[in-house]
Symmetry: C2
């Protein structure tokens, strides 16, 4: 219970603000959750008088009053705001507390600061419990304005900055919003494999996963330590076998005793075993095993070539065609040598798959999901969004509000091309030519969503020539039931389609695009046995974070970015 204090609002005021007078603790720890103090609508004022233990890292610190006390801005990662902490010189060596990055745990009493200060509450320390010091001369990310690019060279420490911590909270919120949305709508979360022997789109650009190299290196080392037998060694062993064979023969001819013969045969067998071991070892060759001039993948871990997945869609369809609505949420990989601000070698994708549903249902689901995430962020991360708006993209909150509330525009690909052609006639210049049949370029997508409509746009029914074989062929035989969701700031956020559920049609399409049937037999089985109308889409999770935060480079919205030449930690 709070001690009585002049600054405390009366309890009916507390109730009106929907506040309790107890602070929340970090789970499984005795320290307070700083968010539960400074994140309150009253800024924490209603908690004055309470004794708490707080732990966190010093954002900024300074000695004051000629070294008689220090101000510390303490942050524990629970929210962007800091708790102001005041430590008297008698409690600790103040110079060891004030460096940015210092970790401190303190016990103290919450007080309302003097009038005129920004803070609504501060912590007067009674005891310094522990200190993790920082030598500011050596600390790689001391308090100064650091660029996001610089921070990418210090992945292990960058989460201590306001920006990366805010992105971590936003990313966490979007991940849980994703699970909550699909669980509320009765989708099952299915873990599709990372290691795969299927190539989703026949696209290539996959990372190979192997133990052949490490095993050949191991063998190489072993052969150096323990060289293989020479032809002379083997000849000698052969000689021993032949001598022992001769000995057995002679004993038998001489009708020797059974025990003598048995002993001699045993000797012979030992010699034979030794020979076969030597012959086996002499065949060992350093290097990756080959057969007919090609790498012998039967010797690899999975007895065939294996890759990192580029999408869980094909696999998750096996579950959609068994238990209806499902989704995946996991890492996917592309071995593209793209050095852009929009590409990663490892990124996370959300891929729902809906049974008994068509392209309209797919669009409805995509729109509902994006709106749900926007509302979730506005509801749970407003303080972090305000930080992003202040520091990176002043429009990000308005953009989230707009997307959360406005119905998405839905136009066919053909209409989209007409609009782009009109724009060209009106003087708009694009780098890529506009005509029916092209794959829309990012500049086209951005024009539609940012200039023409200024809101999210779903483009559907694309020419079949630019889309994957599994998308459902429309009755015009020219287009497929595909759809892309375009949003301001990032362009394409979602790509999806109704899947071709007709066995003969999809078989034809696989052959038409020049793929072999054999690797897709299992996929065809889903159409051959109890086929069902179904659809799905993929959302690039990092793109959603770019959209929400206004951050420009995708490398800054994933904790450990992987791209050509870099995979730190």
């Amino acid at each position: 219970m709070a001690e009585t204090d002049q600054a405390l609002p009366p309890s009916d005021q507390l109730a009106a603000m929907n506040l309790t007078d107890t602070v929340e603790k970090h789970a499984f720890s005795d320290r307070v959750l700083i968010r539960s103090i400074v994140g309150r609508p009253d800024g924490g004022a209603g908690l004055a008088g309470q004794r708490v233990r707080a732990g966190g890292w010093v954002k900024t610190g300074r000695e004051q009053g000629k070294g008689t006390f220090a101000f510390l801005e303490l942050n524990d990662g629970s929210c962007p705001a800091n708790l102001q902490v005041i430590v008297d010189a008698g409690l600790a060596v103040l110079s060891k507390l004030v460096a940015t990055g210092t970790c401190v745990v303190v016990d103290g009493i919450l007080k309302v600061p003097p009038e005129g200060t920004r803070q609504k509450i501060e912590l007067r320390v009674e005891k310094v419990v522990s200190v993790g010091e920082v030598d500011p001369a050596k600390y790689p990310i001391p308090k100064t304005k650091l660029t996001l690019e610089f921070l990418r060279d210090h992945l292990h420490l960058r989460a201590r900055t306001n920006t990366i911590a805010a992105i971590a909270r936003i990313r966490n919120a979007l991940a849980f919003a994703t699970h909550s949305f699909f669980q509320e709508h009765n989708f099952l979360y299915v873990h599709t494999p990372i290691l795969t022997t299927s190539d989703c789109e026949g696209a290539g650009e996959m990372f190979q996963v192997t133990t052949l190299i490490s095993e050949s290196e191991k063998l190489e080392k072993e052969l150096i330590k323990n060289p293989p037998p020479s032809e002379v060694d083997i000849e000698a062993a052969r000689q021993v076998v032949s001598e022992r064979g001769e000995a057995v023969k002679q004993l038998k001819a001489a009708k020797a005793s059974k025990s003598e013969i048995t002993a001699s045969v045993a000797e012979l067998n030992k010699a034979k075993e030794n020979l076969s071991k030597l012959e086996e070892r002499s065949k060992l060759k350093p290097g990756i095993p080959k057969k007919d001039g090609k790498i012998d993948y039967t010797q690899d871990f999975f007895a065939r070539q294996a890759f990192l997945t580029v999408s869980g869609q094909l696999q998750v369809e096996t579950y959609a065609c068994a238990v209806s609505n499902v989704y995946t949420f996991g890492p996917t990989f592309r071995a593209e040598h793209s050095h852009t601000s929009r590409h990663l070698a490892e990124f996370w994708m959300v891929e729902p798959e809906i049974a008994f549903a068509d392209l309209q249902d797919d669009m409805n689901c995509a729109e509902a999901y994006v709106k749900y995430m926007c509302n979730w962020l506005l509801d749970k991360c407003l303080d972090d969004l305000q930080f992003m708006a202040k520091s990176y993209d002043k429009g990000c909150i308005d953009r989230l509000r707009m997307v959360a509330s406005i119905p998405f525009v839905r136009i066919s690909y053909t209409e989209a091309v007409e609009l782009l052609e009109e724009a060209v006639k009106g003087g708009k210049q694009f780098e890529n030519e506009v005509k029916w049949g092209i794959d829309l370029a990012s500049e086209h997508e951005r024009y539609l969503t940012e200039v023409k409509f200024q809101k999210p746009v779903i483009v559907y029914n694309y020419p079949k020539g630019i889309k994957a074989f599994y998308m459902r062929l429309n009755d015009d035989l020219k287009t497929v039931a595909a759809m892309d969701v375009l949003v301001p700031k990032v362009g394409e956020l979602i790509g999806g389609s109704q899947r071709e559920e007709r066995y003969e049609v999809i078989r034809e399409r696989i052959l038409e695009v020049g793929l072999p049937l054999e690797p897709y037999e299992w996929y065809l089985d889903l159409r051959q046995y109890g086929t069902v109308k179904h659809c799905g889409f993929g959302l690039g999770f990092e793109r959603m974070i770019l959209f929400a935060t206004g951050i420009e480079n995708i490398r800054d919205v994933i904790p450990f970015p992987r791209y050509p030449g870099r995979a730190d930690l």
Copy 2:
């Protein structure tokens, strides 16, 4: 609204059962969620009279009344129970509906069946909307008792069986329980990388990820199509350069016009460029690039050797040491040639990391998390658990109830060894010798949790010699602050520790276990700058499912199992 019907309970009875009289639909689809009918406490009786559309797969079907109608047991994956559907011969060719695996969508009216039938409700079909047929002669998993082992050869269809579908729902529930638990306790979900250049435990047995092989194969093909220049080609090109050089010289000597000289120099430059291109191409060699006899990893995608992660712990610690409480939940990999029922090459792990917390806090968190999952399952998946109890492990529900309610036993490693030694004295035989210093074998763990205590046991403070370098050294200098959670049925479910936060101590430990310092510099930085007491653990997600379901083989509780020689789909 329900039509009035004799079998309808009066509305006050409905209210008492906490039932509404509307059926729930599948999201983004017009068909009903079968669970919302047959999963009601009244078995669906209260819904009689309602018109619904239902879609799903036929579990069993049979023609009746000399072919005048058919019974179908329809399942849509939303629950283990089926909806009984009755179709009259006038509505469809019945023989095309009754095969197991057939997909049907039907419109009809819910009716209470005649007294004496098992069902509380059935659907009288008015219209067959669509049918995805099955040829029972070809269907790989027709209705017969199929072994789990057989089903592993049909991964793409096995989710259509009752067992694999029930496991999918239980796995989904445990995954969402995991997120809910950590989110409720203010942990941030952090996506640690799958691709890594760090080896968490220096353990080896990692999968290598590379583009060197595919790029060398690409080059090989290219060189066959377009052979590299011969020495003669290059000599000829050199000749051209020398001739053109001579021509320039002569023009200059003859004081030719500026334009003549410029043109001549341009010709020379073209020849030089051609020569250097040929020289470059002549260096191309098929095969994996080498340098000093070793593979040249500077040419690999990440410019160094890269692997699949074995644990996200070290990386997630960078976030714990910045924003306090965090967790990972993702796939991890081991390239072990283990053919046991307990090992996978790809499996999912949950790894929380708590800042400002010690081993006691770690144990509290682990116990609370396991209990939370047990309660979640009992609350949300009781029908699936009942199916597992009936079909695989009659004790599984009691086991979950026991673990959810009983405090876990906590004993030190030293006490555990004493108990095992006592057991040996009492006549218990173990395959592995028991003495202080050994790593507890599975048989020892199972004895403690299943025989000695018959409840979950946490063993803590293990000898440092058998544990990883990052575990905090205890004051006895012999043990580290590690803990394992053992549960009946699976033995070790969780392994965790307080992390060594003292810079000098952990540096010493790394050297002591024979690891190089350089790859751990970033990890040491966490101790050098603002170090914090922290702890964490890892839970093998598939083990939790084995524990909950009583299934014996880990390959059956993950949708797409990967193990030596197998990575289907």
